[in-house]
Amino acid sequence: MPKVGVYVCYCGENIAGVVDCEEVRAFAEKLPGVTVARTNLFMCSDPGQEMIKEDIRKGLVDRVVVAACTPRTHEPIFRKALEDAGLNKYLIEMANIRDQDSWVHAFDKEGATKKAKQLVASAVAKVLYAEPLEEIEVGVNKTAMVIGGGVAGIFSSLELANMGYKVYLVEKEPSIGGVMAQLDKTFPTNDCSA
């Protein structure tokens, strides 16, 4: 049977201002498969991550649920923590109790706490069946393309080219320059644009 650790984040006031995180923790602790449930003011902080790593290293936990914010920005951080502690980094699930809960139900604390529990229960149920996965690495063609030859395209191309990469600069008009080339002088220095 997998040993799931549930880590509920306060996110300062972002989550804890609405959701009763301690109640969620107590609920999570009783879920099947859960061996450890803890809270932290900021789970993504060093002490928060260290807490997770410590539990993995001690053998208390081999599956992780982080009930916090969005996986879009924070899943890579927690995956790294798993990896550092020697666990396959795909054995984690995030329950987004901030964007999908505390932020949208700010005026219904009781309902938000109930929803947080459901989201955590769902993540725990999913992580129980998680399998270790390995990333695939593929080679890269060391060439860039820039579409549009105005001031943005010109500067992107020059930087990439100066880094040593081949750049194809594609422009639909006969000349590069874009709208910038039409400008006489430019603020705030009143110098010319060409």
């Binding site: 998680a130 990333e135 060391k142 395209g153 080219a161 600069l169 002088k185």
Partner: protein, 471 residues
């Protein structure tokens, strides 16, 4: 601009458009159409002789329609590359010289009758006997990352009927920019287009189409500043011209920007808070600007010789087409959507494709350059690492269970699935590099032969069950 053409690492493909993009970060295959220029660029020296001889006159896009250009033209004097193209839709085929036809022979001289552009060209870059493909040429390029920097366009003045848009002395700020420019239609001489006389009073109107629920709710971010710039340039050159600037409010949130604005006031430029309700053409051809001055708390009128409209920045149609070619998402204002407004401002939902400049939203040149350099740095990361990591949360076929029906092939939005023969029977196979892990094939497969790693049926069923339990 010149730095671009002299940099050995940059290959310029102007007069070219992206037709299709396939593949994924690190390994994109891009088809680019090099449009037909009708002029041999290896021979064209950019001398401009052909432009002198071409009899056609079409509105000159570079001067925002204030003057005309011929059908064979070099876009503008400092063009890079400085090469001519023929605008074939407007070419009138002088001397019956359609492309791909032999010239008629003069009965009098016995010599071939060439079109004026051919005769003018000293290097043979224009040769209408050639049977050139009107569709140009398709080139296929392999690239690791793509930066999209397609920019913006300004709204036309015709939308704003209340501001007498048909009147030649009412112009967009971009037109006025061309009028002030040394390479513009008057060589930089400030005159009223209707009379060719120097104006005595000029009114500027900001937020035309921006911050206006009828058109665009957003602020175009550059108008306050460039209007002030134009006003200052005029005032320093012609101190006797009276200038009125009508602002809803003045937005100067950039380094040294507010100082720039303050100095305009010190120069004697009049700032009026309030958006004019309309413009009437007076019997003498001047313009009656009907405005409100929040400072005075009453209606005011300005009789102006010229009115400059700061029309909004918006997304050109061509960019919308490109968005669908690249599978980019568009936000409510029509601009390309970044992956995260604060933390991933140059990334897009498509890994390996990045944004720079006004295609992502209106911004000024300092911000554009910053973002462009940022986009270059982010776009260089996969190139520098030399490898990309593909998330393993993608689909895989269990060929033992697969019946070879091919339903998954049809539903896959990324063309990632193909049928291969295994022991003479067709079996589905998913290319891991093309699969995005959307799961459409998994839910379509009647044999339950496809597993989406990280989102197995078992996992999803367990989640649903957990969500429906009372807490």
């Amino acid at each position: 601009m010149v730095q671009v053409s002299t940099n050995p690492n940059i290959e310029l493909l102007t007069y070219s458009e992206v037709e299709s993009v396939e593949g994924f970060v690190g390994n994109f295959k891009v088809k680019v159409r090099k449009k037909q220029t009708w002029v041999d660029w290896t021979k064209c020296t950019g001398c401009g002789e052909c432009m002198e001889k071409c009899p056609v006159k079409v509105p000159n896009e570079f001067n925002a329609g204030l003057d005309h250009r011929p059908a064979i033209y070099i876009q503008f004097p400092q063009a890079v590359p400085k090469k001519a193209v023929i605008d074939i839709d407007n070419c009138i085929n002088c001397a019956g010289r359609k492309f791909g036809t032999e010239p008629k022979i003069s009965k009098r001289t016995g010599k071939p009758i060439l079109a004026p552009c051919e005769r003018a060209c000293g290097t043979g870059a224009v040769n209408r006997s050639l049977n050139l493909d009107p569709n140009g040429e398709i080139v296929e390029l392999d690239v690791g990352t793509i930066v999209v920097a397609t920019g913006f366009k300004v709204m036309e003045k015709d939308w704003f009927k209340e501001y007498a848009p048909h009147h030649p002395d009412v112009m967009t700020a971009l037109q006025f920019e061309r009028l002030l420019s040394a390479t513009g239609p008057t060589g930089g001489k400030l005159v009223r287009p209707s009379t060719n006389q120097k104006p005595k009073v000029i009114s500027f109107i900001s937020c035309v189409g921006s911050r206006d629920v009828r058109y665009h709710s957003y602020c175009s971010r550059v108008c306050c500043m460039y209007l002030i710039k134009q006003a200052k340039l005029i005032k320093s050159k012609y101190p006797d011209i009276e200038i009125y600037m009508h602002f809803m409010d003045v937005r100067t949130p950039g380094k040294d920007f507010d100082e720039y604005y303050t100095s305009a006031i010190e120069m004697g430029i009049n700032i009026v808070r309030g958006k004019p309700g309309g413009i009437e053409v007076l019997p003498d051809g001047r313009l009656r600007v009907m405005a409100y001055d929040a400072g005075l708390g009453k209606n005011v009128e300005v009789h102006a010789d010229m009115v400059i409209l700061a029309t909004a920045m918006e997304v050109p149609e061509s960019a919308k087409k490109l968005a669908s070619t690249l599978s980019l998402t568009i936000d409510a204002s029509g601009f390309f959507k970044e992956l995260h407004p604060k933390l991933k401002p140059v990334e897009t939902a498509v890994e390996g494709i990045y944004l720079a400049g006004c295609c992502q939203g209106p911004k000024d040149i300092p911000d554009t350059v910053s973002q462009a350099k940022g986009a270059a740095a982010v776009a260089a990361v996969p190139l520098a690492r030399g490898k990309v990591v593909i998330e393993p949360t993608i689909s895989e076929v269990n060929q033992e269970k697969c019946s070879g029906c091919g339903l998954c092939v049809a539903v896959c939005p990324y063309n990632a699935i193909s049928l291969e023969l295994v022991n003479d029977r067709p079996r589905a196979k998913i290319a891991p590099t093309a699969c995005k892990g959307c799961g459409v094939c998994t839910s379509t497969c009647p044999s339950e032969a496809i597993v989406l790693h990280g989102f197995t049926d078992k996992q999803i069923e367990a989640q649903v069950e957990a969500l429906t339990m009372p807490v």
